[in-house]
């Protein structure tokens, strides 16, 4: 019967096991060692995967939203991706780019209705999609993408 409900039960029990570690994480454009509080703020568990030319720090928050932060070898966060039933806190994950993102949203010309977003700004791209209680998105600094990493691979 309750596939929808069962899913969140499963995620939640996973959380209880993994919610103890407290490594550092930073917002977009920030230094990986500079924001000790972020992961604690999200009350999230963390999983770090190393790829060629970058590392992915995946945070899983209560409720099931996963935020993946892409970190360069120099320790800079150049991209953030998310998926799950709740939006991530944009101020937290966009850091100094938050004001630019918010201003662009407020200024956007559009017809009525809610549509996936493709915000291409100087020095910042934000894309969002999904539907209510099932969101996906990515934000990145185009100039900082490592060679060989395509934007659509940020997920």
């Amino acid at each position: 019967m309750k596939l929808f409900f069962r899913r969140y039960r499963a995620l939640s029990s996973w959380l209880l096991v993994g919610a103890l570690s407290c490594p550092a994480l930073a917002a977009l454009g920030g230094d990986v060692t500079s924001v000790e509080a972020d992961q604690a703020h999200m009350k999230a568990s963390l999983d770090v995967k190393q790829a060629e030319g970058y590392a992915v720090h995946a945070l899983r928050a209560p409720g099931g939203t996963v935020v993946s932060e892409y970190v360069s070898p120099a320790g800079r966060v150049f991209a953030v991706a998310w998926h799950g039933p709740f939006f991530p806190e944009m101020q937290q994950i966009l850091g100094s780019y938050f004001q630019q993102y918010s201003a662009a949203l407020q200024a956007r010309k559009r017809v009525y209705g809610h549509h996936p977003l493709n915000l291409e700004q100087s020095g910042l791209v934000v894309q969002t999609g999904g539907h209510m209680r099932a969101y996906i998105g990515r934000a990145y600094i185009p100039e900082m993408l490592p060679a060989g990493l395509k934007a659509e691979e940020i997920k």
Partner: protein, 437 residues
């Protein structure tokens, strides 16, 4: 207001005052297999409240009216029109300005304080406001004491984790509607993830659905989804009004006529119940698509692009049917379709130079049953300049990794069934949730 409320029932009753046979269907709560209740709410794709103003048309928005009463009263009521019919969300969300005269009672969260609700749309826009209890009448159907979201007129005390940098759509002007009537696949707004029975020590903390507030601000809170979530508390979450009906409570059928290209306006029906009345029997020509985590699969032949959900892990860019999305939204594989200029009000849509015929295959992720769906995409700027409100050929791009969103154009010329999770369905049909068309 009272007059309007009665008129609704009477007119509805005339259209459906005959008895019904069950036709072999055995959903629960349908003793004798039928009733004399009117179960058909008329819907209109008419451009919404600002249709007559320049640039004011809400494209492909299907709107309906709901009579909202103080619980227990049949006279302290208002009928609110221009509510967007949304199979992609759950529960009624209505502007405070429309219901402020009713003095609706508050609904508490699990910690005993008044609950506040937040929802974000994909574009970062949001709705914020208290959860309140109301009795809702749609056609002849009555759902008593249903938790709804009342969208706050005030912008005070909105937590930043809710506003999140997005646009506050707390007015008719910003929302383009008086509210949203969410009649999707689930009984509750959030389900176990927001209930203490989730087993999580803390409620969802990033952009949460529920909060309670004090003089020092608002903090995330649990809200109960009741016995269906193994919670002994009464339901506190914003609830699909359909499950609150005594009868005809297992789903809805959205019925809209087909159009060629665009139409000035369209009218159709939101039918309550599946297989519970003579007028909502499951059509032999319809096919059921069960879902995984409320998604099904879509394969778009260009580039062999698949928008599939993995039933075992609930990962993948699953696809969905959503009357609250006003176009076909899908990934622009190989950038094959031109997108409208980014500075135009049509920036979210495709603008091909000519009408482009496409097809995709939709698939049940559990049974692998599939069907081909043909559709066409036209130039959104040209469509919008027509002054029409309904467009069968409106499409738009989604980011890579997102699913295939079968929006309102998909509903034109189809009867789309939405079978609600946990509700009994006619015998011979799969357990809900599912879509059928």
């Amino acid at each position: 207001m009272r007059k309007k409320f009665l008129a609704l029932i009477v007119t509805g009753g005339l259209g459906f005052a005959v008895g019904c046979s069950s036709g072999g269907a055995t959903p629960s709560g349908v003793p004798g297999g039928g009733s004399t209740t009117s179960n058909i709410l008329s819907i209109a794709v008419d451009g919404g409240p600002f249709a007559s103003q320049p640039g004011g048309i809400y494209p492909n928005g299907a709107f309906a009216s709901v009579t909202i009463c103080h619980p227990g009263s049949t006279t302290n009521c208002v009928t609110v029109d221009n509510l967007l019919v949304d199979t992609g969300s759950v529960g009624l969300r209505v502007l405070q300005s429309e219901v402020s005269s009713l003095g609706l009672p508050t609904v508490n969260a699990s910690n005993g304080s008044a609950a506040y609700n937040c929802v974000s749309f994909v574009d970062g826009s949001f709705l914020w406001g208290p959860v309140q209890s109301a009795t809702l009448t749609m056609a002849g159907e009555v759902a008593s004491s249903v938790p709804i979201q009342v969208i706050s007129s005030s912008t005070a005390n909105i937590p930043t984790s809710c506003s999140n940098g997005g646009v506050n759509e707390n007015t008719q002007t910003s929302l383009g509607a008086n509210g949203i009537l969410g009649v999707g696949l689930e009984p509750f707004d959030c389900g176990v993830a927001c209930d203490t029975s989730s087993g999580s020590a803390t409620p969802p903390s990033t952009s949460p659905a529920y909060y309670t507030c004090s003089s020092s601000g608002c903090t995330p809170a649990f809200a109960s989804c009741g016995s269906e979530c193994d919670d002994s508390s009464s339901v506190e979450q914003v609830t699909n009004p359909v499950v609150g009906f005594p009868l005809d409570n297992n789903g809805v059928i959205v019925e809209l006529p087909s159009i060629s290209g665009s139409a000035a306006t369209l009218t159709g029906s939101l039918v309550f119940g599946i297989g519970t009345e003579t007028n909502n029997q499951f059509s032999t020509s319809a096919s059921v698509f069960t879902v995984a985590c409320d998604f099904f699969n879509t394969t778009y032949p260009v580039g062999g692009q698949a928008f599939d959900i993995d039933p075992s892990s609930c990962t993948g860019p699953g696809s969905f049917i959503d009357s609250g999305s006003n176009a076909y939204f899908f990934y622009n594989v190989n950038n094959a379709l031109a997108v409208c200029p980014s500075t135009s009000s049509a920036a979210a849509f495709y603008c091909p130079t000519s009408l482009t015929s496409l097809s995709a295959t939709v698939e049940d992720p559990n049974t692998q049953f599939s069907e081909t769906v043909n559709f066409s995409i036209d130039n959104a700027q040209t469509l919008f300049s027509s002054g029409d409100a309904a467009y069968s050929t409106l499409g738009g791009p989604v980011p890579a990794g997102d699913g295939f969103d079968w929006g309102l154009p998909f509903f034109y010329g189809r009867n789309v069934y939405v079978a609600i999770d946990g509700q009994a369905q006619p015998s011979g049909l799969a357990n809900a949730p599912w879509w059928a068309f």
